[in-house]
Amino acid sequence: MDLSISDTHVFWCGSDGLDVGRAVGLKVTNSTFSGTPGAGIRNSFGTRSLFFANTCQAQSLNGNGSPSEQYCVYEDTTANNNTYLNNDGSGTTYGNSMHGGLPMRPLPVSPIRFGSSAR
């Protein structure tokens, strides 16, 4: 609840860079997620959270055997009321995705907005 992650680098992690559980009011801004073979940010259950100006890149730097970084931001169907702005998924295979929609690439760098408020 009301957790902020900013200006932080997540690199070369085993699956997803950030996994959001039942968090409320999370803010993730100006952070980079690289070499994460699953998603840079996976929002599984988050609500009323903001993801702004994050970058996923350098999929070739994945050192864990996965061929590519699949998503930058991925929102599951169980997350809602979240806002996503200016998240650059151009360095990933599928870019940003809401609820598993494929393919979304090439994705706009932004602004994109999805979540229940956009449905």
């Binding site: 085993g14 996994d19 968090a23 073979p37």
Partner: protein
């Protein structure tokens, strides 16, 4: 004035340092330590603590070290070990702790500082042991201290204002730093906890390098949590929440300028914390041991 080392006064700057310290505080040598890595020096350490509160631990001669089993420290004391080669070991794998700071739930022990030196366990320690054990205490400072190889290098329960500054805690089996607040220790959460300019590494932790349970206001700044071959980097959790409606949860977990690298499981896991932030931090190297291993997990 009794000289506290085997050296002749004036031989070196080291001797001068010892003399200056001994002018202002007790030395464990005065109370009969052997410092040969064989004798049990617990009684001498405890006498120094009981008699003086504040005491000095000179570096033993010729690669020696002290062996102790549970030295209790008193409120207001400052324990100064001569330098980082001043080594204090547990007597056995069952030694509960080297230094203990323990008060009562209603009457905490306060303002204790341990400086310099190395607490090193040369064998596999039993579950529940700790290098430094803090219970029902406040304003406890560990500064320039190395703690190596205990089940928990630093264990704290019901501890408020716990400062780890320039500390190197490593090689634990359970947690390099474990800070909890047991329900029943008071109506509020424990804390604050400060970890600053410290390195917590080389941990095969069955729990995490840093495990925080129901501690409010946690500041981890300019520190490294690295080389965790088993377990998580930082685990911050409030499992009980505060009684009341709505339930309350601890606030103020701050991670600034820290590095998390080469962590077997989640480098950072945060559960049920409010109003917290991670800023300017490097998170890397979570191993891909199973599907659900994440760089950071917020739950």
């Amino acid at each position: 004035m009794a000289f506290t080392s085997s050296e002749t006064p004036g031989d070196s700057a080291q001797s001068l340092a010892i003399i200056l310290h001994s002018q202002n505080s007790c030395s464990v040598v005065t109370f009969g330590t052997r410092g040969d890595c064989m004798a049990d020096d617990t009684a001498a350490f405890q006498k120094a603590s009981d008699a003086c509160g504040t005491f000095f631990v000179p570096r033993p001669a010729a690669h020696g070290c002290y062996r102790v089993n549970g030295v209790q420290l008193h409120a207001g004391s400052v324990i100064t070990m001569e330098d980082r080669n001043t080594e204090v070991r547990p007597v056995s794998p069952e030694t509960s702790f080297v230094f203990g700071i323990s008060g009562d739930p209603g009457s905490q022990t306060s303002f204790v500082t341990i400086r310099n030196g190395i607490l090193w366990a040369p064998f596999t320690m039993a579950a529940g042991t700790a290098g430094v054990r803090v219970e029902h205490a406040n304003h406890i400072t560990l500064e320039g201290l190395i703690v190596n190889g205990f089940y928990d290098d630093v264990f704290a329960d019901d501890a408020e204002y716990l400062y780890l500054m320039h500390v190197n805690a490593n090689g634990s089996a359970h947690a390099n730093v474990w800070h909890q607040h047991t329900a029943g220790d008071g109506p509020y959460f424990g804390g604050p906890l400060y970890i600053d300019h410290s390195t917590l590494d080389s941990c095969k932790c069955s729990a995490a390098s840093v495990w925080i349970q129901d501690i409010a206001v946690v500041n981890i700044t300019d520190s490294d949590i690295v080389g965790v071959s088993e377990g998580q980097g930082l685990h911050a959790e409030s499992s009980n929440g505060m009684r009341g409606s709505p339930a309350d949860f601890p606030a103020g977990l701050h991670v600034h300028g820290a590095t998390f690298d080469s962590i077997a499981s989640e480098p950072i896991l945060i559960k049920n914390y409010e109003k917290s932030d991670i800023q300017g931090t490097w998170v890397s190297g979570g191993a891909r041991t199973k599907r659900h291993v994440y760089g950071s997990a917020i739950t």
